[in-house]
Assembly symmetry: D2
Amino acid sequence: MSVEIKGLNEECGVFGIFGTPDASQLTYYGLHTLQHRGQEGAGIVSTDGKTLYQHRDRGLLAKVFADPAELKRLVGEAAIGHVRYGTSGHNSIANVQPFLFRFGDGDIALAHNGNLTNAVTLRQQLENEGAVFQSDSDTEILIHLIRKYINEGFIPALKKSLNLIHGGFAYLLLQKDRLIAALDPNGIRPLCIGRLANGAYVVASETCALDIIDAKFVRDVQPGELITIDQDGLHIDHYTRQTQLAICSMEYIYFARPDSIIHGVTVHNARKRMGKLLAKEHPVDADIVIGVPNSSLSAASGYAEESGLPYEMGLIKSQYVARTFIQPTQELRELGVHMKLSAVRGVVKGKRVAVVDDSIVRGTTSKQIVQMLRNAGASEVHLLIASPPFKFPCFYGIDVSTRSELMAAHYSVTAMCERVGADSLNFLSIDSLVKAIDVPDAGDAPNGGLTVAYFNGKYPTPLYDYEKGYLKSLNAQERLARKENVR
Amino acid sequence: MSVEIKGLNEECGVFGIFGTPDASQLTYYGLHTLQHRGQEGAGIVSTDGKTLYQHRDRGLLAKVFADPAELKRLVGEAAIGHVRYGTSGHNSIANVQPFLFRFGDGDIALAHNGNLTNAVTLRQQLENEGAVFQSDSDTEILIHLIRKYINEGFIPALKKSLNLIHGGFAYLLLQKDRLIAALDPNGIRPLCIGRLANGAYVVASETCALDIIDAKFVRDVQPGELITIDQDGLHIDHYTRQTQLAICSMEYIYFARPDSIIHGVTVHNARKRMGKLLAKEHPVDADIVIGVPNSSLSAASGYAEESGLPYEMGLIKSQYVARTFIQPTQELRELGVHMKLSAVRGVVKGKRVAVVDDSIVRGTTSKQIVQMLRNAGASEVHLLIASPPFKFPCFYGIDVSTRSELMAAHYSVTAMCERVGADSLNFLSIDSLVKAIDVPDAGDAPNGGLTVAYFNGKYPTPLYDYEKGYLKSLNAQERLARKENVR
Amino acid sequence: MSVEIKGLNEECGVFGIFGTPDASQLTYYGLHTLQHRGQEGAGIVSTDGKTLYQHRDRGLLAKVFADPAELKRLVGEAAIGHVRYGTSGHNSIANVQPFLFRFGDGDIALAHNGNLTNAVTLRQQLENEGAVFQSDSDTEILIHLIRKYINEGFIPALKKSLNLIHGGFAYLLLQKDRLIAALDPNGIRPLCIGRLANGAYVVASETCALDIIDAKFVRDVQPGELITIDQDGLHIDHYTRQTQLAICSMEYIYFARPDSIIHGVTVHNARKRMGKLLAKEHPVDADIVIGVPNSSLSAASGYAEESGLPYEMGLIKSQYVARTFIQPTQELRELGVHMKLSAVRGVVKGKRVAVVDDSIVRGTTSKQIVQMLRNAGASEVHLLIASPPFKFPCFYGIDVSTRSELMAAHYSVTAMCERVGADSLNFLSIDSLVKAIDVPDAGDAPNGGLTVAYFNGKYPTPLYDYEKGYLKSLNAQERLARKENVR
Amino acid sequence: MSVEIKGLNEECGVFGIFGTPDASQLTYYGLHTLQHRGQEGAGIVSTDGKTLYQHRDRGLLAKVFADPAELKRLVGEAAIGHVRYGTSGHNSIANVQPFLFRFGDGDIALAHNGNLTNAVTLRQQLENEGAVFQSDSDTEILIHLIRKYINEGFIPALKKSLNLIHGGFAYLLLQKDRLIAALDPNGIRPLCIGRLANGAYVVASETCALDIIDAKFVRDVQPGELITIDQDGLHIDHYTRQTQLAICSMEYIYFARPDSIIHGVTVHNARKRMGKLLAKEHPVDADIVIGVPNSSLSAASGYAEESGLPYEMGLIKSQYVARTFIQPTQELRELGVHMKLSAVRGVVKGKRVAVVDDSIVRGTTSKQIVQMLRNAGASEVHLLIASPPFKFPCFYGIDVSTRSELMAAHYSVTAMCERVGADSLNFLSIDSLVKAIDVPDAGDAPNGGLTVAYFNGKYPTPLYDYEKGYLKSLNAQERLARKENVR
């Protein structure tokens, strides 16, 4: 959740609801709990059964809907919403979802969480056939595919289209008379279904969005499923049967809210177990255990409990967003991170500190944290990471799609330890990670139903458009392994 | 720090700096860390040695200085700043500090944290003598008093004035060539001095504001002191010698940031000890210990450590501020608190939960928390309060100056337990509170150098303007005790 | 120009520039002078020869670019801009131009002034072939047509597309290496070319946009022309030779700025001549002549000059935009128009007033003006309209596309006079209108090269999608005439 | 009214109302029509008979009250409002009126139009006696004086205070149960009384503010009057009988709205007569007459009528406010004035143009207008000023209080003509100015009841604080004359 600190960003949260008054208002509340999945833009599209109404803009949800009139304008008993993390390229409002497409035969709104691996290829094909794209986003591709096959009927066209796109995706579509949800064949992104007391159905990225509106959890959407909700209720269908659960392990490690339950696993509990297993694998000689707020507090408390060391609040995070103005002097240079994190001098002074973090991406924050703790008087700083080294990029919706920025892709653990300036550095093993999460729905899927490609390079899908660039980024040994993997 | 949840509000944080370029920018950073002391307004006044420059407005610091040009306009090597919690009455910009008064013989800016007990009387006297007040704030009284005696010289007039006002106060004054700080004779509000590497001096409500700008802690301002900082450095003087430390215990319990060190005591550590002593006084038969984020997490971890029960994250707090629009349906009624706090179902379900909170003011939040935990499946909810029952109002700068709103003033602990719907309810004793904080500077001051009047009604100063109304609010027994106390 | 008063709205102004630093800034200045052509939205797209940069939003230009950083972001030596009047339907940002389409083979931006008569048909055809539209605007159709034929090359595809669309249109297209302008075969919307001292070319809806940036007028774009501006300069081509000038007469009567010169005619001069011919056709027995500010002042001064009556300022218009809050009392009901127009009591009191207005659309404003003058003491009010009765809708870009709202479509002049409460009401004849404008470029085009369909129902193009609804709106006699006209 | 063009700024408009629901809303409408008197800040204070409510901020009225909730908050049946032009010094919100002072014995709000000549002296005296000023404004002085004598009763204290201040002033005061208005002994600033149909009384700077709310004009406030409006109606009293009408002639020449009637003279009519007399005094050999919009159009039409030359629209003013961003290139340098004024090429090309302007202050705008007309093709440009040369500063509320900025103070008419680049330059004589305005209420007051000190240096009051600096600014001959004048 500490987006600004980590530099590791989820690309979106989605929420949909059908069959209740105040649909757009409930969507607003749902999106509020999903705000950690995207802070760059937000939007809602509602329908009153006749037409679709849209409002979206750049910025946090509360800013986008600062004028209550905007939400009131979104009338009707069904709605979908979206929070977005925008890639650096074109942070234009044109890319803020849900998209709304107006057709003579009926409007369609579309919201998407995930990333396609064959988007470039598909887009080029579609453009060659005359398609006009207005956004940079992958999301738009689906609608062009649907329209290409629309003569076969909407649902058949949608199913065909979903079989043509590859990668990780959770889609919500809204038409004037129904809400549709679809999940990729590996179930890489989380998506769950809930139900209000009044019978309305809800679909959301995380269960925390169900809780806030008192919706009862019904089930997780499964890989390859096509869910339709209309006047007649909930319909579960499949667009493909070639599926296998491989949910993104980073959802458990870092992204999801601790109170969310994904495929039966409470995120906080998984994290606490990661901390416990980390303590078993890597006990350290320290006086206290502290966590990096907020995402690593669960793991830190697990580490403390298992190790028997006191759990302390050695770092605190400001609740207030602050501007960092342009800094003319050297002294002010490093203030950025200080604005968000502070070491608690009275806790760490003179202590050997075991600091637990959930992951290391670029390593810059880790370095600053170690420095901050030493400045506050820590006699030793032992850095413990509650996940394996993040060596390989994500192509399914996390904003890390090149290896160059991943510290673990370029340095050994020893070298990393030296670079961040810690007295020791240790990571959780992949095996313990899988064991800590322990997805009940996994069946006999590899890696306990998880995508752990970020740690071992074994991706659950072909990489298509990314394959070539990815191969180039690998060293000789990794390249060889990759060739074996993709066979 | 969870202002919206508790309904217990500090009235202000102050920050001042003298002798460094970027004085206003450093003040901005300092105020950022003090934002928890006031979110209704913010302002900075700077000086370049010739004139004084002011910017202030209603709202959070980041909003007030959203346009970077506003901060750039505040040139010079000295500045004072203020964050404010506005009382409900007149949330006008006229009440946002620092105040700036322009005189033919030199401008003065003034920032204040605290509350006077003889303000009404003084104001009436001054008005009768022709004084014109523009704000509702007590703060303005000081400047009118100073001007009344200005012929005796500025510092003598200031000293005389400080002896005429009573209550709790920490003042910062800025003139074109010096920064002045003054603390009330009981040191009720915290105020500390720090120093930058370049020699500049800093005065701030809490040490966290020193840390963010890498200022080294020098010392706490002591009761009755008058501190002057100018080109020649730091000068420590007294305007009175009749002093005795009685710092507000609520600073340790609730208000101050956990990383701040007040009179030698790290706030987090004090809170953790409160939790530990609470566990000793009131052990409960529970499966897990959870805290109400963020202010009660320290106490909860202390309780867990002492009791040997697992410390879990059973409640989480949203990082994002959200609007609660007008709610037309019954279902949406209770959403307000949900927007800020969520129970972690996967943690509390089927568990006997010991939930630690720092205090109970009105009791409404406690009731909602208990309900929230039960809804999430907790089999028992034991509420443990890491401070004594809050029975008597504060007249020194906390926004609780009538008894009517204090639940503990009207109900026994048993009745309170029933009202909030908990399985058990227990409070820390005053003795344990004093022991947990254990102020080293206290000497032989009563209550270990703390003001604990909120719990026992024994105020360290006469109440003047408030005395009459206060007496009325007491029951027969309390009234009797009061009469003995004030003798 | 008095958009709010009249209820008659132009749909857009365009501006383009190629070959100069500060292209986007000059576009901003150009759009500023075209603001009277659209106040609902504004945007600019620039190019630095590599990529295209866009900023657009709802509201006035000054609001859209309130943050100077937005304009600075639009780097490069070429740009196009647009100001828009949004139809009531979907005032979404998605409809604010210029549109920006990103293709693998190069981005295209598009800005449009006008309206197509076969848009519905074309859009349906395109959608049936798989096209996905994101806006409601006609404008998008062109880009879909171009992409449909893109294999033939861009310019051939563009020419073919321009031959498929019908109605009134002035298009600007921006690619990374050129600026393209195209005008419909009847030249219904104005479009002119200018040149800066540094050799850069400018294309704009009106010459006032050339004047503000000191661009020298080069020529008007002629019907059916396709203008290309690139590194090699200006290229004039045609996409059709079947052309005949029929420029919208309402541009001269009401829309264009008085200082603009359209096809050789200064708008102020044309209006003054309308006033003079109106005085010849309809002399009235009055004491003074006044005009309705600002658009009718030219005609009023012409009327005064010709009639020999004194020209007075009997109505004044507020320079300031004001909010009209919801009005609870009867007295406040009529304040709306008062906020914009005021009668000058000291001028009109006791006088027989000849008030000249440019046109009557719905008649509500006329009624209010007559009332306002009587309240201010005018003894008689003679209303003189410097154009013929507005009886037939415009399908080429003016926001009056149904007859129902046109007063003159439903009432005789006598009945209109009674309804607006004037002592007399008279209109300019079509012949005099044509004579007053006297377009030098007209050649032997009917109506002196003007579209006067609003007054006589003879449209210069087939109405396609609108034909059926239009016929229905006519009375028997008009319907018969229509059938003859379209043969 | 063309504030930005002229660089000559009125300092304020005031409006008050007593005895009607929607008092604050009507005040809003009234202030809207007075917006030309001040664009830098606006505010309203209302009362419901118990307490006073205030809202004020920097910027235009529509911006200050952009949130309708702000106006709704200002409940009650009485209100005063203010629009302000801020002097360059301290454009702080602290200086935005109405000021609101809260006293134990009742709140007072205060709004002021004008300027005192002994403010510095009074302020220093008051400060020496202990007064604390929060604004830089003269306005605050009155309240301090009142409080000094408050023991004598409010009205006696007010009367005594009004006799101690000197200069030009129109004050409005609001208490919970009455509205008070006071005018200086020379009646330099305009102030009029109106009445609504429901019996409520209105006081405003100009009659245009009465018209917009359909208030009937009652009478002008006369010099030295003290008007009280309360539950019992209107009471007219005097604080002094030593009065003589000397209303500011610039109100007629430039500031007031053309539809306002001041002391019986409609401003437009006065201006038209100035134009006529100018034509008699200075006929020119020209083809057309044009005015500088908007303030000079009345005079220009008078000049045209008298001279028999055609009145044309040779300059037009943009209706839209525009930002002028920082301009990096030479070509953009001069765009500022172009954003506001444009020459109509088709009108002035090849013509000998007589351009009428109301006054010359610094001369920079005149120079730009002449240049603009020449660039548009004018063969000759004859500049005719409908007032005498502006040689002496105003100390009564116009933002020209030093001579250095006045072109006519330093150059002969011939030299001015050369500097602005005109073919000829002529001014109206003082005698003709007085004759053109012809105030019926003047009696035997000098200069027909007008202040013409700007043209002849004969001020109607002593200059007190300004005398010394003013004398320094004079040349030898003027200084001699001054000494005679003040005797």
